[in-house]
């Protein structure tokens, strides 16, 4: 069984005002098949955790480690991490002008699997996944994320999640900016991917809304760069009622 372990992770970024420490000792273990929700107020470092796992060059790891089945992820390049089985569904997916969704998906699938997918089954898989995510066929020939609405970009992320079949996926505020219909469609896609591949999920969100459709096994409250409290799904219900004030009151400003 696969396991993703984050151990005492400290991360900083360079800003105009100098080095800013964001993550201050994160410990988290996710087993295959588990759904972990990370919840927290704005600026608590949730997205930093997501991007650090994926290897974005902006974030400097000062100490700690991330292990995928015992192998150190932090020394891998961004693409090596993806090929090792990690996936990040981004909050703001970028546009890639001139690269069609079809071309992009096939190139990524080929890179992840180490060989080109068999054409007939691949085309069928892409079509079926798109249909289930209620994406019009025309998306296949459009340039990646170019002119997509916020909801369309999120569906495109989940399309990739379904097709690339990672072992662990981090969903960075996938629910933000979605209306309830789009939220249901996207959540169904995530649940389907989990059913089909048994992947482990790290669900990063500000709101509890998405947890109505994707049921977490564990909930972690993220405050000021570390996990302040953890528990089961009932913790999310409590946050829904009380908000983050209880945690913020304990946090020194700055």
């Amino acid at each position: 069984m696969s396991v993703l372990e984050i151990k005492d992770l400290h991360v900083s970024v360079e800003t105009d005002q100098g080095t800013k420490q964001i993550l201050r000792g994160v410990d988290l273990t996710i087993n295959e098949g588990e759904i972990h929700a990370i919840m927290g107020p704005n600026g608590s470092g949730k997205s930093t955790l997501a991007y650090t796992i994926a290897g974005h060059p902006k974030y400097h790891v000062d100490s700690g480690s991330i292990l995928l089945d015992g192998a150190e992820v932090l020394t891998m390049t961004v693409d090596e991490r993806a090929r090792a089985g990690l996936f990040l569904a981004m909050q703001y997916p970028v546009e890639i002008p001139g690269v069609t969704v079809t071309n992009f998906l096939r190139t990524a699938k080929t890179a992840i699997d180490g060989e080109a997918p068999a054409i007939r089954t691949w085309i069928k898989d892409v079509r079926e996944s798109m249909a289930k995510l209620r994406m019009d066929k025309s998306f296949a020939e459009r340039n990646v994320n170019e002119g997509f609405s916020g909801g369309e970009k999120k569906r495109n992320e989940i399309l990739q999640l379904e097709l690339l079949k990672p072992r662990f996926a981090v969903l960075d505020e996938t629910d933000s900016g979605l209306d309830v219909d789009a939220l249901k469609i996207v959540s169904e896609g995530v649940n389907r991917a989990k059913e089909n591949t048994g992947l482990g999920l790290l669900l990063i969100t500000h709101y509890t809304r998405i947890l109505r459709y994707i049921k977490p096994d564990f909930v972690h409250v993220f405050v000021d760069g570390r996990i302040a409290e953890q528990g089961g799904p009932e913790l999310a219900d409590r946050l829904e009622d009380e908000g983050y004030d209880r945690f913020l009151a304990e946090t020194p400003v700055g």
Binding site: T77, D79, I96, P97, G98, T107, A111, I112
Partner: protein, 408 residues
């Protein structure tokens, strides 16, 4: 002669330089093209023009139209004797498209524009016969004209492309082999015609081409103009479009890929001279290798005669290696306030790191990701050409150019 080169502020019909606001008053700043605070007093349409080479003084390289070009490398074209005879041309036949050589006395010659510099005037004075491509018929069609045997002696050429009223066609000019060429191409788009002209430069490595395209567009007519410059030592293609008829429309696209030592230049001029005219200018280039040089100048003039104008021009350059230089100079001159829109944009930069991160986070290796981004960057232009076979062939040609990037 001093031409517009720096300001994006509307020139409010200055009668003398004293009439202009001072820099302090309006915050006018010079761009980085070395004009040192010079504010243009001459409207773009007022540049000196002549069909006769003798009317132009010898080229020094300090002229606005030449200052970014390696003029010492083609003195034969700006000042020497040019062979103006007919040359080999290979054209795909079509019942509604006539391709023939015509005399200098042909009534169409000189109706679309006139030379503004000496190489163009030299070609105009020197050509003995003009190639005329006359498009009729309302159905969509595509023809390709190939020049492959121009040779390495200095030569002049003159071409007329006329789209008769209501006609429709894609005309592809394919250029390969050797060349030392100065030429003028007149494009006459009749009322409600829909013409696409694509000129593809895939010359041999030491070829020199100085081309001026003059287009005039009639009422409710449309011209799509595409410049693709990949091969050649010095390639300068300057399209100038006169939106002369009400509701006329033009889209000007350019794609260039400069390798080590290559000079690829384009000076684009759109003259809005009729109500409700529309223009879009989009040029994109990539540069790789020591001494790769590109120049883009985009002039847009919105005249008093052009209320309701809708205009936008942009140039984007992607720098792939050290040691390259891209000049990008957009100029926008507006003489009427009654317009729908006018804008310009210019950006020259390295890879977008966020695009690279996105692709790599999907397992795609760095080299492949870079190739995808560059291919995508240039494909935006290719996708607009409107000829599937040519689009596919050019994608392949871009792949070939990109293969030269690896190892850098």
């Amino acid at each position: 002669m001093s031409a517009a080169s720096t300001s994006t502020a509307p020139t409010s019909s200055p009668t003398s330089s004293e009439a202009l606001p001072t820099a302090e008053q309006h915050g006018i700043k010079e761009h980085s093209d070395g004009r040192f605070g010079f504010v243009p007093v001459q409207t773009r349409s007022a540049r000196f023009k002549s069909f006769d080479v003798a009317d132009f003084p010898a080229v020094t390289g300090r002229e606005a139209v030449w200052k970014l070009s390696p003029v010492a490398k083609f003195t034969d074209l700006t000042g020497g004797v040019l062979d103006g005879s007919a040359y080999d041309i290979d054209a795909t036949p079509h019942a509604d498209v006539d391709v023939s050589w015509v005399d200098r006395t042909d009534a169409r010659i000189g109706t679309a524009g006139a030379p503004e510099e000496r190489a163009a005037a030299n070609a105009w004075s020197s050509f003995e016969t003009a190639l005329a491509i006359t498009v009729g018929g309302e159905e969509a069609k595509e023809i390709t004209l190939t020049r492959a045997n121009l040779g390495s002696a200095p030569r002049a050429a003159h071409t007329i492309i006329e789209a008769r009223p209501f006609s429709q066609a894609v005309v592809i000019l394919q250029n390969t082999g050797d060349a030392r060429l100065s030429e003028n191409i007149e494009i006459i788009v009749g009322e409600s015609a829909n013409l696409t002209v694509v000129t593809v430069q895939e010359w041999n490595a030491d070829a020199v081409q100085l081309a001026n395209h003059f287009a005039t567009i009639g009422r409710d007519a449309r011209l799509k103009h595409v410049v693709v410059s990949l091969g050649g030592g010095i390639v300068r293609v300057n399209p100038s479009v006169h939106l002369a008829g009400q509701g006329s429309d033009t889209e000007l696209f350019g794609l260039y890929f400069a390798d080590a030592g290559q000079h690829l230049e384009q000076q684009v001029y759109v003259n809005h001279d009729a109500p409700n005219s529309r223009s879009r200018v989009t040029y994109k280039g990539a540069l790789q290798g020591a001494g790769a040089r590109t120049v883009w100048i985009g002039d847009v003039l919105i005249g008093r005669s052009a209320p309701g104008t809708d205009s936008y021009e942009q140039n984007r350059n992607l720098v792939l290696t050290e040691g390259t230089r891209a000049d990008s100079i957009p100029n926008l001159e507006i003489e009427t306030g009654d317009i729908l829109g006018a804008g310009h944009a210019s950006a020259t930069g390295r890879f977008d790191d966020e695009q690279l991160f996105y692709l790599q986070s999907r397992g795609i290796g760095e080299i492949e990701a870079r190739r995808l981004v560059v291919r995508g960057f240039l494909s935006e232009i290719v996708q607009h050409i409107g000829s599937k076979p040519l689009e596919e062939r050019l994608q392949g040609a871009i792949e070939d150019e990109l293969r030269g990037t690896e190892g850098n």
